[in-house]
Symmetry: C2
């Protein structure tokens, strides 16, 4: 364990990979590791990148990594696919578009799927980001595929959220409904050389007008990732937002809010787990049968079992 922590702190690739794999397992050892690393976290700038499939996020990230490396910055990437059961090294080989950075010591890329995260995908992603943070990467990019509730929750670990859209994809309504518009700090219109890009940009600007005056108005940035166009502007706007977060105090407020939600999420997860265990107990099943036969009453049964689970619940005696 000592060696593993040391390895991560020295940004040793194999140690980082092992640490993330360990943490995904959610064992006691994993908790001990996460606890040991946590005091060394909080320094990295974490950028979440989300948007519907096919928006060109991977190409974009690839270009951004190259740009950041050119600025002398180290970059960690966690790519999360909530629809895929695969995680870890298996998928890395598939992410061909990112392999150009495979030999670069200043870049670490990891894929995560839904399988084997005993504490939930969002918590596992958060822990993986913290491994990279403790390893001293300057920038950590977290990519999610899709725009559902899971992706929204995952974005709650980012300092800055980038929403990637493309013209003519017709996804804008879906994105709206998912509530991801509200949390975006930067809008990227990728494939901006396509028909409809101008209209999409105008629509987004109009939407931002309607949202009214705020301390930070999300910029709308046209990019053509395949031709490296707009990447420098993306980085400029990310830096501008990072400065805004620091100077306005919003950065600290946001991190505190995220920690609050993370703790709540971990507690809820554990509570649900306990409930599932409880409901497998023979005594609980017998009570359900009694309920079915009308010899027991739902409300009383609920109170009874909550009192066995909870400190301070009155139960039947109250």
């Amino acid at each position: 364990m000592e060696d593993l922590i040391k390895g991560v702190r020295h940004r040793d690739r194999r140690s980082i990979a092992r640490a993330i794999t360990l943490i995904e397992g959610a064992s006691d050892e994993a908790e001990a590791l996460a606890e040991a690393l946590y005091p060394h976290t909080g320094k990295a700038y974490v950028v979440g990148v989300t948007g519907p499939p096919g928006a060109g996020k991977s190409t974009l990230l690839n270009r951004l990594i190259t740009h950041l490396r050119g600025e002398g910055l180290t970059v960690g990437v966690i790519a999360v696919d909530p629809t895929s059961p695969f995680s870890g090294g298996a998928l890395l080989g598939d992410r061909v578009r990112m392999t150009e950075h495979a030999l670069d010591e200043g870049v670490f890329i990891r894929s995560m799927g839904t399988r084997g995260h005993l504490g939930g995908l969002a918590a596992a992603t958060q822990d993986a980001v913290r491994v990279l943070d403790a390893a001293g990467f300057d920038i950590i990019l977290v990519e999610t595929v899709g725009v559902g509730q899971t992706e929204l929750t995952i974005m709650e670990l980012a300092d800055t959220v980038v929403l990637v859209l493309t013209p003519g994809a017709g996804d804008i309504v879906q994105v709206w409904k998912a509530g991801i518009m509200e949390i975006a700090d930067l809008f990227l219109v990728n494939k901006a050389d396509r028909d409809g890009a101008r209209k999409l940009i105008a629509d987004l600007e109009e939407m931002l007008d309607l949202a009214g005056k705020k301390a930070w108005r999300p910029p709308v940035i046209p990019t053509v990732a395949t031709e490296r166009r707009g990447i420098d502007e993306l980085w400029r706007q990310l830096q501008r937002h990072r400065t805004h977060l620091r100077e306005s105090g919003e950065g600290a407020t946001r991190r505190l809010r995220h920690l609050r939600r993370e703790v709540r999420g971990r507690m809820e997860y554990r509570l649900r787990q306990r409930l599932s265990e409880l409901m497998l107990e023979p005594a609980f099943r017998e009570d359900l049968d009694r309920l079915h036969r009308r010899e027991e009453v739902p409300h009383r049964l609920v109170r009874k079992w909550l009192s066995r689970l909870f400190v301070g619940e009155g139960g039947e005696s109250s």
Copy 2:
């Protein structure tokens, strides 16, 4: 309380209305009432009716009520609109299409919205259905507007689920996605005199073919509610399904499963409530600040607070 229980059991309209209002408040008194009534429940046949807005569900229910009254059966109706904050008497006046039964002692209709259900809408609906059940109504119809997750949960109190669709509405994919197709025991194609009805029926039958051979194959019933067409066939198929539920044992299995889910839902609701209370405590907020300053670690903080909440959680000493 004694009088109220007696009133409900004698199917006194004012007592029933008062009982449901009381139960919606989720007070200690409400729990006592629900407990007193529960042993008298389980006799009614509960039919859930769901489907996208505009499918003509209210007209259909109205016709079905008339048909059932003609058979000498008493009917209770709970109409749930998860998108409306209004409940109780306020909305009853709006449900003009059902007012023809307003003076009929053998019919009781109640609307429920989302406001004021401290135990959650699904639990409140279940309790309201039980009031009608204890009052001795033969058939209880539960109508929901929409096809989202809430509606799906509400349908888990029904013995039989009827899904109402209309041709050309383009809602079928949305209904699919919501997972409501799987729980439907009867498919109703309402407005069956319209273009596209034949195709919708064929599509549904094909889908049922693909689902393979099961003990119960949901019938697809064309209706034109406005002209009272198909209502007798609907009732015939409902009776057929009720017989199937009884003879196959599926009815009892289903009720036990629903009770299990209900108890779990009530427990989860209470657990989340406790968490919210906990997170408002000054000591918890101080711990979050310490977490933010990296003087505390998320995993340890979670264990610590769970140990204060839970019987048998090890906490820091484990």
